[in-house]
Symmetry: C2
Subunit: 440 residues, 2 copies
């Protein structure tokens, strides 16, 4: 039984996908049943190292998504449009869709999954989060018996690469970003990565799967790593932490009768050295999931790249082909009924708590006038707002000022910010708030 | 649509399973569709904290596996018999089977999967390896596009707990084993765990899934941790390694035309500190998978316990229920066609290479007479058999003898053993081979 695949895009991920499909030896026997029917590209003139007849290639992507012979569309062109329109048209035409497009899925999940449910087709997206790391299907299928309480992920390879090098080399963000761009680990416009927007797309997707409700991407609080200084990485190290850009989706504690809310946030974080996420370095990603009754599990691996991402894309294609084979083999006569674990059929929207309500620890680095009583003043300001301190260290700087590093206990962000406002208001004591970073 | 579950056994995993099924809030909506129809127990008199009517309980396990009302049998009684017979009878009666029984699956996979294929039912076993860690389904479904080259796992919690404590406390195996037994981390008869037999069962299962062929459990080479000495853990530490009990299933390099073979082995291993497996401590498990094109991915989490194992058991039940819902919803008329990614239909047997053909690095600790030329003699013996050395360190002991720690480069085990035989033969130079441990 052969299944026909239409491939939209032949860039990094598209080429990787085609290579797997054209080289089935040593893989699951079902790979042999997949046939690339059409590949949509921008230009027919570009030389390609893909061994397929010229008739397979076309610049008419719409003709692929409406082609009655094609069973499964693989969307790897990326970006919002025309990806969204093409996926919707494919769905309308009864085709299953596999996509690696986290931005489009995070923004248009509502539209895409509603259309998919109506048309009785699957939209699978393993490659959209964590590249080659199996995490979407495990969340849908292997952890489906759990009540998920928290997902904490390192899900952007570029920022993890930069932070790893900053730690190892003691360098500054700007220099290492420039070097990462030269080496191809960061884009010419690094905004989506370094400002946490890409991680926010991905955590919105993971949260929707884990908590069974849609998540409004606009409500994900995101802070990037531009302000992380070499000094803070060194301080963190001396305190037993590494700094990582974490994406967090967490069930808030709620009273009976209260609407359940989620904390949804992306920000640099001090991670204790003995936490499994602390040793995830370079471009690797990892997703740490806490659930009841499973406890703590982690998925680790390469978060990007042609091969890893294509591995996930083809896995999705195979999962759909397997279900189509079951259908055809068992002589179905009714309308297609979708696998409730693989289809995303939830309709409600998850409530997201405002960032002021989230609870976490904070690390703060202050530059103060080196005068008697400054430590007492800092302690009093925090105490006035119910912020309890875990540690406070003062060091003297060459310029005569004092540097004070504080780590708080868990505190509601709103209260913490009030304490910080009071600190800052006192110009004669505190010269500068050099850093405010959350602590896991 | 309700699906009826027959539960065989109400011990640690069985109780955990029942608790999830009776508390669906916050989990996937499909959990609500699962009903515990019968629970098979050894005695009806034992008090239970499971909220089900007394009519649910029976000591007649055979009546459960033949009950026409039951869709899915969960086998969590463990051991070889009557587990094997009950599973086979359930399959014959057209029931799907979910099991956590690694020993029975490793030994009887041939019989079980042949029967399941014939009867058109699933036998799922996520809980058999790695407790709550999703690894079986990810291997079957999320990594199915890959050619797997190597699986390296810490898949026995008891031995990992003992080795972690030996490292942290500098204690000896015997003392810590006794303490682990008192604390319930090791069984009264610890043989299956500490001699590597449990890990061998599990790696045989993982290899069958990863390489698409059956693996003869008897051909898995296994060595346990009884001989690991505190001195070796200290040496390993000074060389930048930790000692872990690893289970390895690796594709051997083969020439074109040669039959492909697997290395299948369980043994204590020096793991470099910067390897992701090195920081997997206590009762945690982790499975490190290398494939093409995915690269290196790792699955980490709790390898045992009531909650984690039950999480995996119920996930399997839900996966079967999801497929049954598709069947019923789409009005199937033909015989059931099984999902080719979830069913284990491979018929061929993987060839396993004899341990003498496997290639790895070795760490050796020798006690020698402290006399001129002994280091030269050791180097010559290894050199005579083509064993190249990575490092060699000699220290003097209080009793006047010398301790020599050697780390080799990659070498075929057969050649290494020949060199060791030559070393040992020379009684006037080498008093004792204190340790031989493989190096990752």
């Amino acid at each position: 039984m052969t299944f026909k695949v239409g491939l939209l895009g032949l860039g990094t991920v598209g080429s990787g996908t085609a290579k797997i499909l054209l080289d089935p030896a040593g893989r699951h026997p079902l790979v042999k049943e997949l046939e690339i029917a059409k590949i949509g590209v921008r230009s027919l003139d570009k030389p390609r190292d893909i061994d397929l007849p010229a008739t397979c290639f076309t610049t008419d992507l719409e003709a692929i998504v409406t082609d009655p012979d094609i069973d499964i569309i693989v969307e790897v062109i990326g970006g919002l449009e025309p990806a969204r329109t093409l996926m919707l048209k494919a769905i309308e035409n009864g085709k299953h869709v596999v996509t690696a497009n986290k931005a489009a899925v995070a923004l248009y999940s509502d539209e895409l999954f509603t259309a998919a449910e109506k048309a009785g087709v699957y939209v699978l997206l393993e490659a959209a989060v964590g590249g080659g790391i199996p995490v979407i299907e495990p969340l849908k299928q292997s952890l489906c018996s759990n009540k998920i309480n928290r997902i904490t992920g390192i899900i952007n390879g570029t920022t993890n690469y930069i932070l790893t090098r900053m730690k190892n080399e003691g360098g500054d963000f700007g220099d290492i970003l420039a070097d990462a761009q030269a080496l191809g680990y960061a884009e010419a416009d690094p905004t989506a990565d370094v400002d946490g927007l890409d991680a926010a797309d991905k955590i919105a997707i993971l949260a929707a799967l884990a908590y069974g409700g849609r998540v409004d991407r606009a409500q994900v609080h995101s802070e990037g790593i531009r302000t992380v200084a070499a000094a803070d990485i060194a301080y963190a190290d001396s305190l037993g932490f590494v700094i990582k850009l974490l994406a967090v989706a967490q069930r808030c504690e709620s009273q009976p009768g209260e609407t359940e809310k989620l904390e949804m946030r992306v920000h640099p974080t001090l991670v204790p050295n003995d936490h499994p996420l602390a040793s995830v370095n370079d471009v690797n990603n990892a997703i740490f999931v806490e659930g009841n009754p499973v406890g703590k599990v982690m998925f680790f691996g390469p978060g990007a790249g042609s091969g890893p991402t294509a591995s996930a894309v083809v896995a999705d294609v195979l999962n759909i082909a397997a279900l189509l084979q079951v259908e055809k083999g068992s002589n179905q006569t009714g309308t297609r009924s979708l696998d409730p674990l693989l289809a995303c059929s939830h309709q409600h929207e998850c409530q997201v708590a405002p960032i002021s309500e989230t609870v976490t620890r904070f690390y703060v680095r202050l530059i103060a006038n080196d005068q008697p009583g400054v430590i007492g003043f800092v302690g009093t300001c925090f105490g006035n707002h119910g912020v309890s301190l875990e540690s406070i260290v003062q060091t003297h700087r060459k310029d005569g000022s004092a540097e004070i590093a504080v780590v708080t206990h868990d505190v509601q962000e709103g209260k913490f910010r009030q304490a910080m406002d009071e600190l800052i208001a006192s110009k004669e004591q505190i010269n500068d708030v050099a850093a405010v970073i959350r602590v896991l």
